[in-house]
């Protein structure tokens, strides 16, 4: 099963397995091709995909925070998170 997932007037993602609006395999393939050939947005902007026309629309992209340095964890801590067990 193929789906497109929208927010307001835009397609935010397409998905397989579960999703919001069921679409055909052909439509899924078409949208995937459009997404993967999206133009590069200038700094500070992002391209949004209109659900009705499948055209890209340039929009301002608010600056996002960099990952805090203390959230970059070392291998030992990562191992402990996965295999260490809950306290």
């Amino acid at each position: 099963m193929y789906y497109k997932n929208t927010e307001d007037a835009y397609i935010v993602s397409i998905s397989k397995g579960a999703g919001e609006i069921e679409i055909s395999a052909a439509e899924y393939k078409d949208i995937l091709a459009i997404i993967r050939s999206a133009p590069a947005a200038p700094d500070g902007y992002i391209y949004l995909l209109r659900a009705d026309t499948l055209d890209w629309e340039l929009a301002e992209n608010p600056p996002e925070p960099e990952p805090p340095a203390d959230e970059d964890i070392d291998e030992a801590e990562a191992y402990n998170i996965i295999f260490g067990g809950a306290e």
Binding site: I14, A18, R36, A86
Partner: protein
């Protein structure tokens, strides 16, 4: 409806019974804490299942919404991506923190805290990128979901990359 006076000892006995089934020793606040904890216990007619799927974001995003219709409680997620052009990826410093894999687990009555000192985190989210870095973050929403939201704090999911996932939950 009539009102009743209940002793603290009786409430504690009920709470202990709930805790013995839910596997937690956390304090339960009456009534919402009791109700919530009972809701987390898997009972008759419920079963743990897994949803497999894939999602491709149309634009770069710090959140990835994973559609998981029909689950009442999510107990864990795992995901990774495909067709990563590692050479291009590594050359582009701006893409340094794109997510390529994530693992989230929920043990006991709350998402497993990655950082026990930060109780605001609801879950454990471990993600990695091409440079071998790992990050921890939170599963943003999971209660009675149609979507599980993964990410935040600037860890981007890249437009056009297809993320494969498994979500474990209760139906």
């Amino acid at each position: 409806m009539a009102n009743y006076v209940v002793s603290g000892a009786d409430l504690t006995a009920v709470a202990d019974a709930i805790r013995s089934k839910s596997g937690t020793d956390a304090a339960l606040v009456f009534p919402a804490g009791f109700v919530g904890a009972i809701g987390e216990i898997i009972g008759g007619g419920e079963y743990v299942t897994a949803v497999f799927g894939e999602v491709t974001p149309a634009s770069d995003t710090i959140y990835l919404n994973i559609p998981v219709a029909g689950m009442t409680t999510i107990v864990g997620t795992f995901g990774t991506t495909e067709n990563v052009d590692w050479e291009t990826y590594n050359k582009d410093a701006g893409y340094d923190y794109y997510n390529t894999v994530w693992i989230s687990t929920r043990t006991k009555a709350a998402w497993w805290p990655c950082n026990a000192m930060d109780l605001s985190w609801e879950g454990c989210f471990l993600s990695g990128n091409a440079n071998g870095h790992s990050y921890k973050n939170g599963v943003t929403s999971y209660t009675n979901p149609t979507n599980v939201k993964i990410g935040g704090n600037g860890y981007k999911f890249k437009a056009g990359w297809t993320y494969h996932y498994v979500v474990f939950g209760v139906k």
